[in-house]
């Protein structure tokens, strides 16, 4: 009896595993394409966008999944170029910057409409910006726009300080800054106004109105305290921030200091225009499917949370004639295996970035017509809590950074390339030129060389030397190393519970054990628990960080380490670094500015407050019949360029070259859109040259 059972059991198990293997082999039998590849019968794109969006109100969410969807629903002043993510005209036909670099004028097209037919004017942009900074809205994106004058003060609930003589205290009298208030002359074609004069005045001082913060600030600065004594506090209102509707189709923005990359920021969903009448009517329920009104190429048809979000072409959109898709179905999924299963079964046409699991890389890479691996505007690194010993010693940090074999790590992660700097390569070609030049000079001054710098990718010998010099001698032990004096209990690698982070943490732990003889304990934590610990810099040792650039300028990576309240989670701050950055950002000449930034980056890098690891590749898939969808550095797509190609002869082949190959359909569309700004620049140049003569 028992024998029968046992046989039966074994048989069942065998059958199961056999069928599994057989099915697996069948499933992964390589055809030309990965799974079923037939275009959908309707003119629809089925796209996996990421986790379920928190909200369809563009001012609120700050995640990538939401960004992708919101780009379909809302238009902004500019739009991202589908392949390079440069700024191309959106609702603004043209724009220009004033002489001082702090004033921007946008000229809007006159045929832009919301999905309910109402026209979009400059007043709507003013409303959108003012609303975004409203403290009660508690938008997490507000800090993106802090360059706009007084926006941070308004968002933080600060107040101006008004004396009995009616004069306001000025910021330059109390805060040291090498950024000189650039007074820009009123631009031609944009009228002057009371408000504009107010914005042109030197920046006013603002102080917090919350008692505890106010008292803390005043107590720390006696001069300030004395000056504020007895004066009236006038709260900063929404109407004070530096945005103005000069007329219905002219929109002006005033910054408090130059930000050469500012226009590139405006593609973010926070700055995209929202319908004031609908928001006033419905309050925080305005973005529900039954109430929502949008401004983009697509509008909401149905929203079933966690199931799908269906958007359809909006006939009222100013560019509706050029939008090729009838419908997009966004599927909110975040499990990699499920996504690829759906892709293979032909039920989705495209997936967002970083979705191909590392282990599948070798197999998926074979599908040259569908797998996209291009450089991304992001970096992965380990941050170090530099406040806790022994990581407060620069040599220790450097030792550990250099003792990781990044080439091996890259082989593990498959889609990365090694990085020893702060700013990723392959994204900002002009910056990299500047960096090469500056690094060569500076390193030579220090008696080193660019090659030696690049060798920081891995040098176990040097790592051991550094660690020994730092006071923790590394000794040979058998075929390996030991470092008995290193206080391993005071250091740990903290990571959240995703597999890729786990794999990296385990790898690095093994590397340090093998190369330095120290076994650093691993600590894993659920993301929500981990975040506050990291943000408040209470962790010990190392934790993994990934940073995705917010805009297409190298500063978005250096910004993390700038200012005493910086968000680097390292506990590091250096006024020298801040000064170098301020100097760079107030430089108008682009190449010169890049050189200054490079110097700052080198300085930061040599402090070794982080352990740079690598630059990820985009690593996603789309069916070859989906065109106009490019692996741009941010994986943010302007959906109006996407279309389904039904002629198999024209399907994408060998997508490694997709950013270089020009698609005639997309090029034509781009040409039409970019014409207005290019025209403007040409005429503007002509006017300037004429004026100069």
């Amino acid at each position: 009896m028992a024998g029968l059972d046992r046989d039966r059991i074994i048989a069942t198990l065998l059958v199961l595993s056999l069928s599994g293997i057989v099915a697996g082999c069948a499933a992964s039998a390589s055809g030309k394409y990965f799974g079923l590849t037939t275009p959908p019968s309707e003119n629809v794109l089925r796209y996996i966008s990421g986790a379920e969006p928190e909200s369809l109100d563009p001012a609120l969410p700050n995640g990538q999944p939401e960004a992708r969807i919101l780009m379909a629903l809302y238009d902004g002043l500019i739009e991202y170029h589908p392949a390079t993510m440069e700024s191309i005209p959106g609702i603004a036909e043209s724009w220009e910057v004033g002489e001082g670099g702090t004033e921007y004028i946008f000229r809007l097209r006159k045929n832009a409409k919301f999905s309910n037919g109402e026209p979009i004017t400059a007043k709507d942009f003013v409303y959108t910006f003012r609303r975004g900074f409203k403290p009660e809205l508690a938008s997490r994106n507000a800090s993106l726009g802090y360059y706009i004058k007084y926006s941070e003060a308004y968002n933080s609930g600060h107040a101006f300080v008004k004396g009995t003589d009616g004069k306001f205290l000025l910021k330059k009298d109390f805060v040291d800054s090498i950024v000189n208030e650039a007074e820009s002359k009123a631009l031609p074609l944009a009228g002057d106004s009371e408000f504009h004069k107010f914005l042109d005045e030197p920046e006013r001082l603002t102080i917090p109105t919350v008692e505890t913060d106010k008292v803390k600030l005043l107590d720390s600065d006696p001069k300030l305290k004395a000056a504020v004594e007895g004066k009236e506090l006038v709260p900063v209102k929404a109407e004070d921030i530096g945005v103005e509707a000069v007329d219905d189709y002219t929109f002006r923005i005033k910054l408090y200091q130059p930000a050469p990359y500012f226009v590139g920021l405006l593609g973010h969903q926070f700055f995209r225009v929202v319908p004031s009448s609908v928001i006033e009517k419905f309050g925080d329920r305005w973005s529900r499917p039954e109430n929502i009104v949008t401004s983009g190429a697509f509008k909401v048809l149905a929203h079933r949370p966690y199931d799908e979000l269906i958007v359809v072409k909006d006939p009222n959109n100013w560019d509706a004639a050029n939008v090729k898709l009838d419908r997009i179905e966004f599927y909110p999924l975040d499990e990699q295996t499920t996504m690829l299963n759906l892709y293979k079964a032909g039920r989705v046409d495209g997936i967002y970035n970083h979705t191909v699991p590392g282990p599948w890389f070798d197999q998926i890479r074979e599908y040259k017509d569908e797998y996209l691996l291009h450089p991304e505007n992001a970096t992965e690194f380990y941050v170090i809590n530099v406040k806790k010993a022994p990581m407060d010693k620069q040599k220790v940090r450097e030792a550990m950074a250099i003792a990781i074999d990044r080439d091996a790590w890259v082989k593990l992660k498959k889609i990365y390339k090694p990085l020893v700097d702060i700013i990723p390569f392959g994204i900002f070609p002009k910056y990299e030129e500047a960096r090469e030049k500056v690094y060569s000079e500076e390193l030579k001054k220090q008696g080193s060389s660019l090659d030696e710098w690049k060798a920081r990718k891995f040098n176990a010998e040097k790592g051991r030397k550094l660690l020994t010099e730092a006071g923790f001698p590394v000794q040979q032990s058998g075929s390996g190393w030991i470092c008995p004096t290193f206080p391993v209990d005071d250091v740990s690698i903290l990571y959240n519970t995703t597999e890729s982070n786990k794999a990296t943490a385990e790898f690095i732990q093994a590397q340090w054990k093998q190369n330095l003889g120290v076994t650093i304990p691993l600590k894993s934590m659920e993301q929500r628990t981990l975040l506050p610990m990291v943000n408040k810099v209470e962790y010990q040792g190392f934790t993994r960080r990934g940073w995705v650039g917010d805009y297409m300028d190298p500063f978005t990576f250096l910004y993390l380490y700038y200012s005493p309240q910086n968000a680097s989670a390292t506990g590091w701050w250096d006024p020298k670094f801040d000064r170098m950055i301020d100097e760079a950002n107030s430089t108008v000449d682009e190449q010169l500015r890049f050189e200054k930034l490079a110097r700052a980056e080198l300085y930061l890098n040599q402090q070794q407050v982080i352990v740079p690891l690598g630059v990820p590749g985009t690593s996603w898939m789309k069916k070859p019949y989906v065109k106009g969808l490019y692996p741009n550095p941010g994986t943010l797509h302007a959906w109006k360029f996407v279309y389904i190609e039904r002629d198999p002869a024209k399907w994408d082949k060998d997508v490694d070259n997709i950013l270089v190959d020009k698609d005639p359909v997309v090029e034509n569309q781009l040409k039409v859109i970019m014409a207005s700004q290019e025209e403007f620049i040409k005429t503007h140049q002509a006017v300037k040259t004429a004026a100069a003569e």
Partner: protein, 390 residues
């Protein structure tokens, strides 16, 4: 005529059960496989390391080896995608899976048996109250408890909090005793009416007041003890090095899983006690003056052990499955440790291209769970062949 007395060897209840068990071929199969597994996972890892130098967390330094290789002579179960030998990991995983199963079951046994026995024996409103608590805890989705537990205690506080556990447990015991006293007090004051004369009433109130004072003092003491993290951290200083961070997390997992299964255990024991407490041997014990505590733990519990053992043997696989489920959600055993469940959960993702990552841990786990279930069935049949209770 001579009469020869045949002296038959006496047997006890347990010896009888053992004999019956051995007759059951399936159960024996289960027992054998289980024993084999236990031996394998205990001595396997060190032997493997001694023979081949392979450890479960060895990640090769050579980048080309950081791949998942199919089974070969070098790696009889293949490697995972970080190049680690799966056989070594399955062995280590077995240690942890079995440990999780056994220890959680022991925790749930200790808590559940005591709780259920007390509730069942004392009966009445205490029983009602205690079972209501069980109902409430049952209604909380346990994953919430586990997630919170693993979050709150999973940080740098782990060592301190584990060391402070004795204080917390003591505090809870005192609190429970306090509650029981409170109920007693209530009964004494309001239970029997005021009909038996002034003197008696006064006496009752006097005793009641005394008990109330003791009760208040106890509650205060409990609160103070629990808040004595100074006490806890001094223990942590002395013995903290025993717990490495990874082990602390596993320890917590034992605790968390054990905390969930005690509920049904309590119910089962209570049921048993309820049916046993009116039997003669209990009356006899009461008549001879055995204390309540003695009756519960020295007379009733041993007699109720039958179903308890069976249930315990069946709890082990269910706890192991729960741990696997938690690992699938990313909350179970953490790196560098692995359990069969976490290995299977990891392997499932790559089932289409690297099926061996799932097959080996999965089959091993299934085989062990099989054996445990067979054993449990066999035990049930052996200990109480007349009962076929759930």
């Amino acid at each position: 005529m001579e009469e020869t007395l045949q002296i038959t060897k006496g047997t006890s209840l347990w010896a009888d059960a053992w004999r019956r068990l051995l007759k059951n071929k399936l159960a024996v199969f289960g027992l054998v496989v289980l024993a084999f597994m236990v031996v394998l996972v205990s001595i396997g890892p060190p032997i493997l390391q001694w023979l081949t130098g392979i450890t479960p967390d060895y990640i090769p330094a050579d980048g080309d080896l950081l791949k998942s290789f199919p089974p070969s002579v070098q790696h009889p179960m293949g490697t995972d995608e970080q190049g680690r030998d799966i056989f070594a990991r399955v062995l280590q995983g077995g240690r942890i899976s079995l440990a999780v199963g056994v220890i959680s079951t022991v925790v749930s046994l200790l808590v559940g048996v005591s709780y259920g026995a007390i509730a069942g024996y004392l009966g009445g409103s205490i029983d009602n109250f205690m079972m209501r608590i069980v109902d409430i805890i049952y209604a909380i989705p346990y994953i919430l408890i586990v997630i919170v537990l693993l979050s709150v205690f999973g940080g740098t506080n782990t060592r301190v909090l584990i060391a402070a556990l004795p204080a917390i447990v003591a505090g809870i015991c005192i609190l429970v005793a306090g509650v029981l006293l409170a109920v007693n007090l209530y009964r004494r004051l309001f239970g029997d009416g005021l009909a038996d004369g002034l003197f008696n009433t006064l006496k009752r109130f006097a005793f009641g007041a005394l008990e109330a004072a003791i009760l208040i003092a106890l509650i205060v003491a409990a609160a103070y003890l629990v808040s004595l993290t100074g006490f806890g951290s001094s223990i942590a200083e002395k013995y903290g090095s025993v717990f490495s961070l990874g082990m602390s997390q596993i320890f917590l997992l034992f605790f968390a899983l054990g905390l969930v299964s005690w509920l049904t255990m309590a119910r089962v024991v209570r049921g048993q006690i309820l049916s046993l407490k009116n039997q003669e041997f209990v009356l006899a014990a009461k008549a001879t003056g055995v204390s309540t505590f003695g009756i519960i733990f020295r007379h009733l519990v041993p007699n109720a052990l039958g179903p308890v053992i069976v249930y315990a043997t069946l709890t082990v696989p269910s706890v192991m499955l729960s741990e696997a489920f938690l690992s699938y959600l990313g909350l179970g055993v953490q790196a560098p440790y692995a359990s069969w469940g976490s290995l299977a959960a990891d392997g499932v993702k790559n089932i289409a291209i690297f099926p061996w990552q799932l097959i080996f841990p999965g089959v091993t786990m299934a085989l062990t769970l099989f054996s445990l279930n067979f054993l449990g069935d066999g035990l049930r049949d052996a200990i109480d062949p007349q009962t076929r209770k759930f």
